[in-house]
Symmetry: C2
Subunit: 935 residues, 2 copies
């Protein structure tokens, strides 16, 4: 059967009546325009006032992009878009095409026919088109693609007659019937798949690729039967009918249940409607002068400025993606089709220039003609991101601000930690998931206590992962010696998490399913998996995952010149300073290397846990007389002085905020439960000793431990978080804080005499009332002045306070009478503002709260702007009312969190202080905050 060539729409059985009226209307030009050819994008822009978002609203994202590519002269298969207005009109009239939508569509088809020199439904020279939905926002649940519209039995037959591979033709035809059936006529797709499966079985083959042309012909026939059975009418062989029904199906899919649900969840308005894009089909599988492929305009791994991609000769797009056939690198195209390769390269440059970003492109070559099917911003690695951003600035494509804005904080973080090799990771056995509290990969053998971890690491030079139910301050030496830390309990701000982040050790904590048997030196997960001490495991602290075995790692380079460039630009942009939390000279040096402009928090008590000091600290706590206590305190002075000296040297010329002792004293003693257990054990063992010496030793140990127990019981608190800590301790034991201040100023004076510019700032923690500062600060400043007088030198210094208790924020005006600086301790402030104990909640109800969206996110990870932030704002305002030049910063965990850094910028803080490993991230985030403010 042959159709006459149609140079203009004809009124036939299959061509609707409206065709005629369409022309009339078009001539009259008095109706709205609902259909735009890709080449008519200028008209659209004119209509919506040159607002690209409005263009997208009218044409949908896909239609707008194809039109945009067409405009800049990229070869895109011709097509047109039916606007979202047409959809809205169709839906609001209960399913009728508005005015002459269909007529305009037919006119557009005619225009394509002219452009392609093909005809829809003409078996001798058939035009095939695809039909796709496209809303302003990408939206799952909308109608899928229908390909190959325009095919029918006659067209197929003729096509084969003209020498086209019959297998290709009938595979294409059955696809049309299948897609049309399931999408337009709502035939369950399983029924079609069942036919194919049956056919494979009958043919005795295992893949679709092995089915023959005859098989696909038979399948197509079967598909048509299914369509008829289900829809009650024949599959429309009339291409116009196919097109019209497909258009309507797209319109209707806007109000499909899944689409509505998605819009409700995502907060997308329901009155936007969807556009319909109709585009000429092109085929890369019609011979050896055909090809198809995907390409990136730059190397997606390294960012190098070279085309990169894969292609296949005589193949369909899906063949490339599916990876069934072995693809060729794009370089080979240069050899096979040098002219087309050059053309493609020119197009890539054009697209990059236009979109000012690296492009991810799909192309097809049909009969030696290159077509671009799609382009979008390409996904890339962190390394590629920074390099491309820097290169594009140098190429004049984007501004420095744009480059900085493009790099994400997580991408900077990537450079700071080793990573598990992606491939090995994908194949490894995932043991368990926990909280991703400290990023990076760590691989090592399991050690169940700090001493073993340290011994294996230091003496035997082995890589160790320290595994504990939870960690305590006296585990720190083991943690430092380990590659990474794994715990079964604890939350995002547990001891393990805090220490791990502080020292840049990858860590996964709170792995509830991990059952650790310290006696048996084993851990298990469920019934199956048993791991012995000494076995290899691998941690991904970035993802919070634990793998069995020894996985390979790769280490990105923090001194990557592109990264350094981006960060230097970020420094030019940001107004917020970035300081670091560092307790030791080593950390301070690292912080400086990473760009820290000061130390925002030095926790003096961490020094107390070191092995040679802990006995002295314990002697101080256990002292029976003030004199005994004073003696112990004086022993600590030279040690602390030495620590501070190192810090001042490392931070020369930059401020160093030193926090006076903060934790409750019982933290320096063995735990209550542990002592009870040890005493019970000792008493049992006592009965089995034979020699007097053994018994004597045991009795002495019992006495010591009983003494500890007594003190621990006296110091025990119901709610230690709200107990005798911080300045409360300082006021109860002024000797201790006075010693610390002496150590600070003696160190500073010594440095100053040697020409080192030391800038100590003494920070008083946990203040809740101005009188605390009045009492404590007055006494401490006196000690400071005494030291400077003794040493005969004056040091520039400040005294200030943490703001970590709501009352401190509420009375910040009064505190600022004394304090020369504020530092927000947002960990504790979040705890008290929320009334949440992070130790308990992060492994408890908080998980449920976040899952159920009762809290939008974990307030210990990102600052709660509605509550904590509001209080901070008040404190900044009140504080600066009293003291306009008040220095205000943040030293809580939030100081390294980009979202929190934005808030800190908005609150007008002077600096954020975070762990040294977060400093580069914070520098970038601070720049983002400044950029966001400008925008």
């Amino acid at each position: 059967m042959k159709h006459a060539t149609r140079t203009a729409p004809q009124k036939t059985a299959s061509v609707p009546e409206e065709v005629k009226t369409k022309d009339d209307h078009a001539e009259k030009g008095d109706t709205a325009k609902y259909v735009y050819l890709f080449g008519e994008v200028e008209q659209v822009e004119e209509k919506v006032g040159r607002d690209w978002q409005q263009v997208r609203a009218l044409l949908g994202g896909k239609g707008a992009n194809l039109a945009d590519m067409t405009r800049i002269g990229v070869p895109v298969p011709p097509g047109f878009t039916v606007t979202t207005e047409a959809c809205i009109a169709y839906l609001s009239t209960g399913g009728k095409f508005a005015e002459d939508v269909w007529e305009q569509e037919l006119a557009a088809v005619a225009a394509i026919e002219e452009a392609t020199e093909k005809k829809l439904g003409n078996p001798d020279n058939p035009l095939l088109v695809s039909c796709r939905s496209g809303a302003k926002f990408s939206m799952p649940g909308m109608m899928d693609t229908i390909l190959n519209i325009g095919l029918n039995g006659e067209v197929a037959e003729k096509w084969v007659e003209r020498g086209t591979d019959p297998r290709f033709v009938y595979d294409s035809y059955r696809r049309l019937v299948q897609m049309f059936g399931s999408v337009v006529l709502a035939v369950p797709d399983e029924e079609f798949e069942a036919v194919i499966t049956g056919r494979r079985k009958d043919a005795g083959v295992s893949s679709d690729a092995e089915l023959s042309a005859a098989d696909w012909m038979a399948v197509t026939a079967k598909f048509k039967e299914i369509v008829k059975t289900h829809s009650g009418s024949e599959f429309p062989t009339d291409p116009y009918q196919q097109l019209k029904q497909a258009t309507e199906a797209v319109f209707k899919s806007w109000n499909g249940k899944r689409a509505i649900d998605y819009r409700n969840a995502a907060g997308i308005p329901h009155d936007l409607g969807t556009a319909v894009t109709i585009q000429t089909m092109v085929f890369g599988n019609r011979g050896n002068d055909c090809a198809t492929g995907v390409a990136m305009s730059r190397n997606a791994s390294s960012g190098e400025a070279e085309l990169e991609g894969d292609f296949l000769i005589n193949a369909q797009g899906e063949d490339v993606v599916a990876g069934i056939r072995h693809t060729q690198p794009l370089g080979d195209l240069k050899k096979r089709m040098p002219q087309l390769y050059d053309e493609f390269q020119e197009i890539a440059v054009k697209l990059e220039k236009h979109y000012r970003n690296m492009q991810d492109m799909e192309f097809t070559i049909e009969k030696s003609k290159l077509w671009l099917l799609q382009t979008r911003d390409g996904k890339r690695t962190a390394q590629a991101e920074v390099r491309i951003a820097v290169d594009m600035v140098e190429e004049g494509l984007i501004s420095k601000e744009e480059a900085v804005r493009r790099v994400q904080p997580a991408q900077v973080d990537f450079f700071l930690h080793p990573q598990l090799e992606a491939k090995a990771r994908a194949e490894a056995q995932l043991m368990a998931r926990g909280l991703n509290v400290s990023p990076g990969a760590a691989v090592g053998i399991v050690a169940f206590d700090a001493d073993i971890a340290e011994r294996w690491a230091k003496q035997d030079g082995r890589d160790v992962i320290m595994v504990r139910p939870e960690t305590r301050p006296d585990d720190v030496h083991g943690m430092l010696a380990s590659q990474g830390i794994l715990t079964s309990r604890g939350g995002r701000t547990s001891h393990a998490a805090l220490v791990a982040r502080q020292f840049g050790k990858p860590a996964v904590v709170g792995v509830g399913e991990l059952d650790i048997n310290l006696d048996a030196r084993q851990m298990s997960i469920g019934e199956q998996l048993l791991i012995n001490e000494g076995d290899w495991i691998s941690l991904d602290g970035t993802a919070g995952e634990v793998f069995l075995g020894k996985l390979p790692t790769e280490v990105p380079d923090v001194s990557n010149p592109y990264l350094l460039k981006i960060l230097s630009w970020a420094d030019e942009i940001r107004t917020l300073e970035v300081w670091a939390n560092a307790d030791y000279p080593n950390d301070a040096r690292r912080a400086r290397e990473y760009g820290a402009q000061g130390i925002g928090l030095c926790r003096t008590e961490h020094m107390f846990f070191e092995s040679e000091r802990l006995p002295v600290v314990r002697r101080m706590i256990m002292a029976k007389t003030p004199a005994e206590r004073k003696e112990a305190i004086e022993k600590l002075l030279p040690l602390q002085r030495k620590d501070f000296e190192g810090l001042f040297r490392a931070m020369e010329g930059h401020p160093v905020i030193i926090r006076l002792i903060d934790p409750p004293l019982h933290e320096f003693l063995p735990s209550y439960d542990q002592l009870i257990q040890e005493l019970a054990d000792l008493k049992v063992r006592l009965q089995h000793f034979d020699t007097l010496i053994e018994i004597d030793n045991a009795l002495a140990e019992i006495q010591v431990k009983s003494h500890y127990l007594e003190r621990v019981q006296a110091l025990r608190e119901m709610n230690p978080m709200l107990g005798t800590r911080g300045v409360r301790l300082g006021i109860l034991i002024p000797d201790l804080t006075t010693m610390q201040v002496r150590a600070i100023f003696e160190a500073a004076c010594k440095c100053a005499k040697e020409g080192v510019d030391a800038q100590p700032e003494v920070m008083i923690p946990l203040t809740c009332h101005a009188n605390e500062l009045k009492v404590q600060q007055t006494e401490l400043e006196k000690a400071a002045r005494e030291v400077m007088q003794e040493q005969g030198i004056h040091i520039k210094y400040k005294f200030g306070t943490m703001i970590e208790i709501p009352r401190a924020a509420l009375t910040a005006d009064e505190l600022a009478e004394f304090a020369e600086f504020f530092s927000f301790g947002t960990n504790d402030l979040t705890q008290t503002v929320f009334g949440i104990s992070r130790d308990d909640a992060e492994a408890g109800f908080l998980v449920h709260y976040i899952q159920k969206k009762i809290l939008p996110e974990n307030p210990f990870a990102s600052l709660d702007s509605g509550g904590v932030g509001k209080l901070m704002k008040m404190a900044v305002k009140l504080g600066r009312e009293t003291r306009p030049n008040l220095e205000v910063g943040i030293c809580g965990e939030h100081g390294g969190d980009p979202q929190s850094i934005l808030l800190c910028h908005q609150l007008g803080l002077n600096y954020v202080s975070c762990s040294p490993f977060r400093v580069p991230v914070a520098r970038l985030a601070a720049a983002h905050a400044a950029l966001q403010e400008k925008a």
Copy 2:
């Protein structure tokens, strides 16, 4: 030696020259007036614009009062006052009398001489005067009194010659020399006292009263020698010299070190100066027509309107006060000197009318002439205070407002608790002091656990004091059965303190020195005092004191008609409502009796601790499956419904706020430490059992307890105060809160059907984010509506939330989108705003903080207006922005504290809610708040 009678000042060696010029000046009348006779008060008032405070500023408190009494015709010994202006002038010129101050003083002396018909320095008819300082504000450290100015050797001699008792005369003379010497000439008083001591020794007597006239003559002579030795000059025998030097000494004492220190401490300005009051001496000890005494214008114990007092014939004022001689009741004066008694009575009435208050008066009768020496508002008991206030309103002396203002909250509180009899208390053995957490007296035998306390009280009908290291919820039955509670640990808001106040049980807690040995059933204090279970002790919960033995008590009457009158007037004045915290119908009934207008807090969980319910509650907590848990919860429903029914009936027509379950679940289980101990004991005992049954039972018990232990460990929290409580529980176990809401509404519907107007208000505790209300309240309101639909009746109800977390206050506008009422839980709010755990701090650093004035007062006793109050203010404002008719109250412990009630009034709260026993106090305090606002 005799002086000629001086009718006018003469120029003699002893009379200064200025005397002459004085008259000139007086005639010229062109100098300022610095000296005012008592009778010249009108002139003073004119000068300062009729402002009594200014009169006091010029004449000092003492001078002003004497002048005031003189004005209203009360017989006051004549005198005059040198103004504070004279003092300031004197001091500012470096110690020179301004202009004619001294001349005016001489003229005033002349006026007194005329009035008394006596002459200063005239041995035949000598005028003796006293000289006293008097500043605007009473001030220790100012100059003491000098009596008997005008005496010298000659005057004394003649006086004796004219028949005056020589012992009296020379005692008076040595007093002048002594006072003048020590006060004016700064001779150390010890030197004088040493002379008297030596004299007593020589005379072989033990008291001054036994020394003879000759002794005092000798002492006087010796005193004069001492003066000469110390000051370098003779004691001035010239009376004018005495007067002038005394006046100057008063002036100078204004700048004495003690006075300056006191003013600095009390914030009194340093430029006020002191006045000098010179007054004629009168003597009650010059014969049997003389007397002296003190009297109250009304009965200071009962408030009855009758004169009451003591006097002595022929005695000095100090004899009455010292209690050496046996005084006579004032009634006897009526018999002895009826006319003078009547005159005194008239004066008392006159003074009361003038001062509109009960007066405490000193009087002296010299030669049958009555003189009033002093009057001031009289101290009185609580009973007297309320009766006098009411009587004076009825007598038209004061307004109702004034009556209400006069009665202090502590005086109302007095009526609500038994008291230890004052006399017995003074003589009893004080065992120890602790925190006075619940007022009133309790007397009983010591019981060391709740079961024994209950058995002894209920079965044996004995009065019991329950003594524990600290109490737990499962001790409540014993606490209820006891007269009072004593603990060695815990603070002002410990469990013991809260429960005691709730039930009006006197309690002393936190008696640190108390060493309780539960095994030995003994307690001890130090090495000495050992008390066995069953021994009698007495508690004073008002003072926080513990006495050994069984002390008698007295019970003031809360239905005292005067008290009720005062409270009814308070109700007319106040705008703040007073509600009560009550968990049981009995409490609610008492609260109503005491005037509560609603229940502000019913703690549903208290019901869970009752003996028949606790096993069900524990079954719920221990449930292994949701079904098991649901079953237990359903068992609780009818019990809770019954509770609520009782409450609604008791509070008919008034709102009842019911708080959903609040405490962490582990509070319903045995404590961790207890379980560990019990399990250890069981395992030891296991080894000594013989029979299989014993062993089986023990094993079963071990299993149960191990099961408990496991759950307790799982529920254990580092900081339970900030843990899984309140709405967090409600969200985790919605079945539980839904059951509670069903019970509330089933009860309300039942009541309503029987015609009882039930007004439930459901309160969600510990909210920190609006989403918590969104989730929980939505679900609960659904349950409420279901019940009402089932029952076919509609109840007026509200849903609301506690504001006890800073974030709730900070986001009150968001919370008010859901909550129809707010109730400030200021106990927890104070803990979180300060970052202080009350359990730990009240027996810890908080004590130190309050002692050292770092905190002005315990913020758990009185609301911290600077921090907590500021946050409350913000919450009220934000809440009412969203919901203008938002009901706002307070249900924390502060609701019964007068100072906090004032703050609540100022914040615009609708009500305060406190323990039933504090309701009358709160009614008064609320009226005070309203009055203060008006003022």
